[in-house]
Amino acid sequence: MERVERTATTTAPAATTRPVEYEDEVDLIPVRTYWQLVRIRFLQHRLAVMAVVLMAILVALAIIVPTLSGNAYTKTSLTKVNLPPSLEYPLGTSDIGQNVFLRLMKALQTSLFIGFTSVAIIALVGVSLGAVAGFFGGGTDNVVMRFVDIILSLPTFFLIIMIVAFFGGVGNATTVIVAIGITGWTVACRLVRAEFLRLRDADYVQAARALGAGNQRIAVRHMLPAALPPIVVACALGIADSVVTEAALSYLGFGIQPPAASLGNMMTNALDYFFRAPYLILYPGITLILIVLSASFIGDGLRDALDPRQRIESK
């Protein structure tokens, strides 16, 4: 009779778990790695799964439609102004005869791009600074954390407006991304720092050190994986925040400028014809809400799934 080896470190997928006969009840619990459990828990979160599907559809649309249609979203036509929805123009045309559907897809692309890249900056800066602070502790930690305190005390949105307005020039996506990125990393930094401080004296880290592993190896290979789960959740939720921030910036006239399209500037443009064609502001608004909802449900689902204390519901 064969017994399953209880190793916690295997990352093998579920398929390789050998079918075995069990001797007693204890062994009836199938052996699963942490990531298998995470996947099972996430799949049990119905809203989160729906949100992943929705996000996948949005990302696919944002990649495919603008790629196929090229620059058509900027094309204006004075003979085809304010048309109702039709086969050629699924969402009708705007006040200057632009294809609203194509613009919306391009805007979706821009907004998602800004959302993902600014969160990437947030994660990069937050994780690096948090890791350095938590790893070295003491004076280094003190300096980094006081810096965090200062950034947290600044009125964030106003600071972003300042950076974008003073350094961006007009319609510069890069400045928007950088501004959101360099003001938003404090949460990630605190999370990673707390985890690193906790792990600094953990037995397995001591063991790695005793085996002669260098600082960099210990930090990256041994401590970072443990600090990742809360970061992953923070990033998912951060995407929602970044997308909304971009829209608010554009609404106030600081973000992406036409003829480029973003969800925010589509709203601003629609504003000029708000009382004649209010549906023009509905499309970007609803798209924005869908992005925010799916990002935050994915975040919630990941939070529950990555938490090892969460039980798996038996079917």
Binding site: F147, I150, S153, L154, A165, F167, A240, F275, I281
Partner: protein, 319 residues
Amino acid sequence: MATYVVRRLIQAIPILIGISVIAFVIVNLAPGSPVDRFRSGRVSPAVIENLIRLYGLDKPLPEQFIKWFTAFWTFPFNVAAWGYSFVDGRPVTEKIYERIPLTLELMGTALLVTMVVAIPLGILSAVKQYSWADKVVTMFSTIGYAMPSFWLGLMLLYVFAFNLKLFPLYGRHTPGNDSFGDLVWHLVLPVTSLAIQQIAGWSRYMRSSMLEVLHQDYMRTAKAKGLASGRILFRHGLRNGLIPIITLLGLTIPSLLGGAAITESVFSWPGLGYLGVQSVTTRDYPVVLAVVMIGGLMVILGNLLADVLYGVVDPRIKY
């Protein structure tokens, strides 16, 4: 308590200096100079030279910073403490003082509405967990949270101001009518758009805080000794469930300035946030700096207020 407050205020000093340095550096690193607006054929170079000397722009940056920073704190006695606006030449203190009450009016009302609505909603959905009422509240808060406040504001404007003509489209008063009723009439839509988003967050928070309290041992004890359920809920439950809300209050106060910038712009409400956005657009640096400093002060004071209130309501916390 007093020593705790003093200690916290002393700890705030380096943070305030940090905020000022960052704000000052951003403003001064920005390409272009404040006097560029005068550089046209009609203004002689000598006049511009004089302006540069007048604003102290010829001095090295650290010297300019120290001069600005020390002058900044003389504002209780000195009208010129925050400098003069580049746009209309008025003292910045004056411009800001007249905006603060208007922002407080809007934000205070929104906060009040938020508390009055969100706390009962949170209690309701915690007490009747998983009931249809809880599901409705949760759904509302999820959607309310996902809706950008300015978009919601625009929708409200379209439906209630433009279509139904129930409320005004913009501003704080109808010209020529300074009555209180007129002010309230103008407040309804901006307050609603601010409050809906905050209610969404607060009711969620209140729900989880209440749920935690409801499962405590002392709640079971109260029930076991035969107290009426209303008394258990309000005397034993609510009092403890409200404690975390205080933190939320401390966090919300400063974020009101940022939220205000957008909502005030949507409804053309002449508050501090609107002034801030306008001054960034016109590069009115003295005003921008003052708004950032006030925002920072609000964060620091908001946190301090939350911590002090925490000690007041929760006797387990000692300073």
